[in-house]
């Protein structure tokens, strides 16, 4: 850490915390407009059906109804999507998953509208339901979207070296198949949005729980057939997103906007938790087949990977999510011969899209599991197999990219985690204790032979059944969007003539702490104290399109833009002082604590507010727009070769668990997370990212699962969908290893997603270490461990049956 920073890297309180602890922060549903109406959605209970007719006759004349809106009211695009336009705002010919919406009713009272929506008569014909992506790929499978020739959304091949030769050269080969589940973002704030018609004709304002206002604007404008400038999207305080308030919110915003333009009044849509889970997209379930060949010394010679991602009913972000998977699927290992195929497939399941990790948690779970299996086979420790294969400076990735121009410090990260956790000794000890025995239940005293209900002495006094385990996982992660998209961001800084500043960025505060991070960047350059900075709400009409706030790119890209703007203003101020104080052009100043000082011959000092007043008086501009563009990257779609991302971060997590052999319960005692985020800007926020990411990762590892029963979701609320509570995860300890990088503000890169992507893999390896047996299917819940299979609910009704 560079000690010359005045504020970067310190523990800084959040800019927005005061509003949030006092209840004053305004989330979307806290905001109302005069004359506001509400809209409720109408769906049918089918996962795949042809719509034959819609009959509004029983509601059309009801005084409680102001307007019915369906596809016939859409002036512009009826189908939207980030890559492929396959998702209808309102369904018109088919329903392809139960979350689909056919029409919406607008009125003054939600309770009344909910009664009326049952009177809309929709006649439909059931079509065959596809729930298994492998079946969707079969030759004569019914087509979910008949406008495309098959159910394949995308296929990414990657070819490096000679895979046959690689396996022929190996001494050992392991081949295994892993599976992961649908996972819900479970932001605590359900979706809400209000569309407000503006005084200018054909223009609308959107205020909502929107993660990516610019993407939202693009969708709304295309649906209304308006120019982009006629749609103004303002982000309300966002109550969590994790990638989840993107497509869903864009579509909800478009629906509200149509309603507002047709009624001429503000229209609010507010989802219940059940509607939120029903309609919003999930994290992709993956089926991952890995085949690894290695020499007796542990050096990997070949890796063959076949991944099928369930894209659900719409393509959404599947092409980008699975692209990150194909880039990172081998893990951070230098392997000469690689063959990877990743396919995303349509089914009638809930659709899947962006969620924290974005195509990385699934392959990391698989590759890090199989690396441990390889270590065990070769009789070396898991850290050692990684040390013998992992990236170092100058290594080539699976896509043939040379890792250079940044600290490739994975070994340092790994060694720190191993040392801080005492990994090696513990792993060897627990491993030798288990002697590779499978779980055996024969000593348990079941109440009767057919029941798995334990007797009291087994679940209350079960010390004999507790086993310890330790496991680790490592990863590398491409920062920002990579070759999947345009990568640039804007920030606007406006100093006032009293030295106060307002700051606006085209990226979003999603709860992660961006306001504070970017304020720190501005404060560091200008030597301001944070209380002088006002951070303005994101508004698409006030700042250039900066792309989405995703891919752990906001600190890197937004921070780069803020720094550029701040440096530009500082340069002007320095030039002014050179003139005022008659200094040489290369005079060096310090900007700190609201003062500017010059230490050359005859020290001089001016307070920052006096300097701003002086600049203002001299007619010097005190504001600047900063722009930060990532370097060019490229990708060959046929071979999967190219410079996928312009820089990478590295991480290692070690989990220590207690496994109850009698119940299958796993408790996480300790989790050590070592990350290289480039540079830490706000230590308090960085630690918060680790605690939060690890806890979400623990949920992914052990509990969280959306079951699709012929497309229908049972877990529609938090009574069934279990996310970690305060009692569920033991100690978490973050460590940061900083590394030099030429990009971002002072080399700051990514942290949000790296913290989550490793946790399930580390926990799975710890469970393996404790149990002496590998478990292949996330989540590692009680039945997976105790029975070796997942239990499926027999009905969609609420309750524990």
């Amino acid at each position: 850490m560079n000690d010359s920073f005045s504020i970067v890297g310190k523990k800084v309180f959040r800019q927005d915390a005061y509003a949030k602890v006092t209840g004053q922060a305004k989330f979307a549903d806290d905001i109302n407009f005069p004359g506001q109406l509400f809209a409720v959605m109408v769906r049918i209970a089918s996962a795949h059906a042809k719509i034959k007719s819609i009959d509004y006759s029983e509601v059309i004349n009801d005084s409680r109804l102001i307007k019915i809106i369906d596809h016939s009211n859409i002036p512009g695009n009826k189908l939207v999507g980030p890559i492929r336009n396959d998702q209808p705002i309102f369904c018109f010919d088919k329903v392809v998953t139960p979350g689909d919406v056919i029409c919406m009713l607008i009125g003054e009272n939600v309770d009344d509208l909910n009664k009326l929506k049952r009177k809309v008569k929709i006649d439909f014909e059931e079509l065959p339901v596809l729930n298994d992506p492998l079946k969707s790929l079969e030759e004569n499978s019914p087509l979910i979207h008949p406008e495309f020739e098959n159910n394949l959304i995308i296929h990414y091949p990657l070819r490096k070296g000679n895979i046959e030769k690689g396996f022929a050269d190996s001494d050992y080969i392991i081949e295994q198949t892993y599976r992961t589940a649908f996972v819900e973002h479970a932001y605590i704030e359900p979706e809400a949005v209000i569309a407000i018609p503006q005084e200018t004709p054909n223009s609308v304002k959107i205020v909502g729980s929107i993660q990516n206002p610019f993407t939202c604007r693009k969708v709304v404008a295309s649906v209304l057939n308006y120019p982009l400038a006629n749609v103004r999207v303002i982000q309300a305080e966002l109550g969590g997103s994790f990638g989840g308030k993107d497509d869903t919110m864009n579509i909800l915003s478009a629906r509200a906007a149509i309603g507002a333009m047709i009624t001429g009044r503000p229209v609010k849509i507010k989802y219940t938790r059940e509607e939120s889970i029903l309609e919003s997209y999930k994290r992709h379930p993956y089926i991952l087949n890995y085949k690894v060949g290695a020499k007796a010394d542990g050096k990997i010679t070949a890796m063959k990977i076949d991944i099928i991602a369930d894209g659900g009913a719409y393509s959404s972000m599947s092409p980008f999510v699975t692209w990150r998977s194909v880039v990172q699927a081998t893990g951070p290992y230098e392997i000469e011969n690689v063959q990877t195929d990743v396919r995303a497939v349509y089914t009638n399941n809930p659709y899947t899209g962006a969620m924290r990790g974005f195509g990385s948690p699934q392959p990391i779970f698989a590759v890090e599991s199989i690396m441990d299996e390889l270590a065990i086979k070769l009789n070396i420790t898991p850290d050692e197999i990684r040390r013998r294969n992992c990236f170092t400076s100058g290594s080539f990735t699976a896509s043939g990219q040379k890792l250079e121009k940044h600290d490739v410090n994975l070994i340092k990260v790994l060694d720190t985690a191993v040392q801080k956790s005492g990994f090696k000794e513990k792993w060897i000890k627990y491993h030798s204790l288990q002697e590779f025995k499978s779980l055996e239940h024969k000593n348990l005293s079941f109440n009767d032979a057919d029941s798995l209900i334990l007797k009291e002495q087994d679940y209350l006094n079960n010390q004999n059944y507790l086993r310890k385990g330790i496991g680790l996982a490592v990863s590398y992660r491409g920062c920002s969007l990579g070759a999947e998209g345009i990568d640039a961001a804007a920030a606007y800084l406006s100093l006032q003539n009293d030295g106060s500043l307002f700051l606006l960025c085209g990226l979003s505060e999603n709860g992660q702490g961006l306001r504070t991070t970017l304020s720190i960047v501005a404060a560091e350059v200008l030597g301001l104290t944070l209380d002088k900075i006002i951070y303005l709400d994101q508004d698409t009409s006030l700042i250039p399109d900066s792309g989405p706030t995703v891919a752990s790119r906001a600190t890197l890209m937004g921070g780069g833009a803020v720094k550029n703007a701040a440096v530009e203003i500082r340069n002007r101020l320095e030039k002014l002082l050179v003139d005022e104080w008659n200094l040489a052009g290369d005079a060096v100043f310090t900007f700190a604590n609201d003062k500017v000082k010059y230490f050359g011959g005859g020290a001089k000092e001016i307070s920052f507010n006096e300097l701003c007043a002086l600049a203002y008086k001299k007619g010097i501009s005190l504001s600047a727009m900063g722009w930060y563009k990532g370097p060019d990257v490229h990708w060959n779609e046929e071979t999967g070769q190219g410079s996928a991302y312009f820089t990478y971060v590295y991480g290692c997590q070690v989990a220590e668990v207690t496994l109850n052999m009698a119940t299958g319960e796993v408790f996480i005692d300790n989790l050590i997370a070592v990350h290289n985020p480039g540079r830490v800007i706000n230590l308090l926020g960085a630690e918060g990212q680790v605690y939060g990411g690890v806890t979400q990762g623990a949920g992914y590892a052990l509990w969280e699962e959306i079951n699709s029963e012929k497309g229908f979701i049972k877990e529609l609320n938090f009574d069934q969908y279990l996310i970690p509570t305060a009692k569920d995860v033991g100690k978490i300890k973050p460590y940061f290893i900083e590394g030099r990088d030429i990009y971002g503000p002072w080399g700051a890169k990514s942290l949000g997603e790296p913290t989550l992507e490793l946790t399930a893999a580390a926990i799975a390896n710890a469970v393996r270490n404790a149990a002496g047996k590998r478990f292949f299917n996330l989540p590692l819940n009680l039945e997976e461990i105790f029975l070796g299979k997942k239990l499926k609910a027999e009905s969609l009704n609420r309750g524990s049956a």
Binding site: R14, V21, T22, D30, E189, E237, Y691, A726, K727
Partner: protein, 152 residues
């Protein structure tokens, strides 16, 4: 059917006329414009709507208007005294216990109810007190630290 209920809200006597089936959460947010109390699940699982009623933490989505007559209710808006933050609010800021902030009001009210009955809770008691308040951002660690450091 409309009923009239009187209760003490954040130290002030309040009387409202409302449909009997409405929830305390709706009264607070819609009728009294106290939007600091949030709705996250509407079935008493997430704790975002937690308020303190007669010194106990309750999910205001599970309390009907008819149940609050004569009660004393404190919401997040009632914690500040004379313009100063309550110790819990201050410690939540200092410890980094706030990220998106949607669970924060409910979390603080559960912690407040805990401190009313237990001035020096240990870590397990804190975890138990907030086990009904879901947070998806923070992993709870800094929240637990903040509560442990707070005074009533």
């Amino acid at each position: 059917m409309k009923i009239k209920v009187s209760f003490i809200l954040n130290g002030l006597q309040v009387t409202v006329e409302t449909e009997a089936h409405r929830r305390l959460l709706d009264l607070l947010r819609d009728d009294l414009n106290l939007t600091g109390t949030k709705e996250g699940c509407a079935i008493g699982e997430c704790g975002a709507c937690t308020v303190v009623m007669n010194k106990l933490a309750v999910n205001s989505c599970l309390v009907l208007a008819g149940q609050i007559d004569g009660a004393e209710i404190i919401t997040i808006e009632g914690l500040m005294k004379n313009g100063a933050l309550h110790s819990l609010q201050q410690k939540f800021i200092e410890k980094g216990a706030v990220q998106c902030g949607f669970c924060t009001p409910g979390m603080i009210m559960s912690a407040y109810a805990l401190l009313l009955s237990n001035k020096n809770p240990d870590e397990e008691e804190i975890k138990e007190a907030i086990a009904g308040n879901l947070c998806r951002c923070t992993g709870y660690k800094q929240i637990i630290e903040a509560i442990a450091d707070s005074e009533i």
